[in-house]
Symmetry: C2
Subunit: 233 residues, 2 copies
């Protein structure tokens, strides 16, 4: 399939867009990246490609749209054998990777987002406590899954590295806003070292948003969410 | 592996528990079913097996716990070849099945649950509208994915059949409470016929809760949720 037959519809401030991009880099697949402007109107191409969720990222493989970041990562892993496997080959390890990725998206990320959009100090501190608790769980999971190797996926970046690593920039912004270190040497040393390795990995570093620029976007996003809350339809 | 090496921790009123059970039936795998009493305290075995979410279902395969209903279904499909494949073999069809299953769990089921726990007529009607809209989307998806065959999975019950079919009993209860037919001949004929086929399938019928008994449970669940809302921690 020609280069232009693989496209990613994305938007730079969406951490979820990093996921398919990193997976394509791991597989050495060339693709065209098409930038959507978030917080503004959505393009015809996005609305046509993902009419149900109307969200980035979307992978276009020829005329076939694939939606939802982790579903796209699995698709990329199944279609391209031009690089290391992203999901482990063992079904139990695969189930564990999927489990922790589900934990991250369903529990941990909502807590992280909760810190950003908290309207009271109590709500903010409760969300921060959840984020910290989650990091301790993920530190334990890293110990079990990496088995002394550099990544959750072992020697290579795998599914769970991509799932969690794509959200590191959000964690940095929350640390900045809350003036608090959440990923610490004392509590989560392995994860802290992993975060440095992940962020400087060749498949990752060029798609990781610059932290200050991302923080500016987060301020705008927060204002938009709080405004929407104050003026329900 | 001996029969007793496969166990399902479940609870009859949890529609999600049906998912691994149906998958095991499709694969003709014998298993021990261990009933948890929901709305009461949780067993040591459940807390030990799923310390993160503390929820049923859990599959115990030997000493390995696998959690989250759809992750378990994928695990069963990957481990046992003693029956038809549950996920399609084509990566794009697999991505589509995963996409609609994600839609069901993230958007459609929360709307269905929203009808049950709505505290105003407006909130209830808004949730019912979302449920109906979702059924129309799923009717369209059925047309595309089943390609004229009896199930989403083609000739056999597949991943999406299990994901949606396990929630049919919830839909029936909501129809009963709202005194409104939601799965109708006029709007969703294919899905209505599919629901009959699915519910009477040999892998399904013995694990589908009896509607009246399930409705009684739903009344208790509703009371518990509304009480928890009224008395926050």
């Amino acid at each position: 399939m020609a280069v232009s037959d693989v496209k990613v519809l994305g938007s730079w401030p969406s951490p979820f867009v990093m996921r398919p991009r990193i997976a394509l880099h791991v597989k050495s697949v060339n693709y065209e990246y098409i930038e959507e402007i978030l917080l503004e109107s959505k393009s015809e191409l996005l609305l046509k490609s993902n009419p149900v969720f109307k969200k980035v990222p979307v992978l276009l493989h020829g005329d076939k749209p694939i939606c939802e970041s982790l579903i796209i990562v699995q698709y990329i892993d199944e279609v391209w054998s031009s690089g290391p496997s992203i999901l482990p080959s063992d079904p139990y390890e695969r189930a564990n990777s999927r489990f922790w990725a589900a934990y991250i998206d369903e529990m941990w990320f909502p807590a992280l987002r909760g810190v950003l959009v908290a309207e009271s100090e109590d709500a903010k501190m409760a969300a921060i406590a959840q984020v910290k608790e989650g990091l301790v769980l993920l530190e334990e999971a890293f110990g079990k899954l990496s088995q002394g190797k550099p990544f959750f996926g072992g020697d290579q970046i795998g599914y769970l590295d991509i799932a969690l690593g794509s959200l590191l920039v959000c964690l940095q912004v929350i640390e900045k806003f809350s003036e608090m270190k959440l990923l610490t040497e004392a509590r989560t040393r392995c994860l802290l070292e992993w975060a440095h390795r992940f962020s400087s990995h060749v498949a990752v570093k060029d798609v990781m948003p610059e932290a200050d620029k991302f923080a500016e976007f987060a301020v705008k996003l927060r204002a938009k969410i709080l405004k929407a809350r104050a003026t329900p339809e």
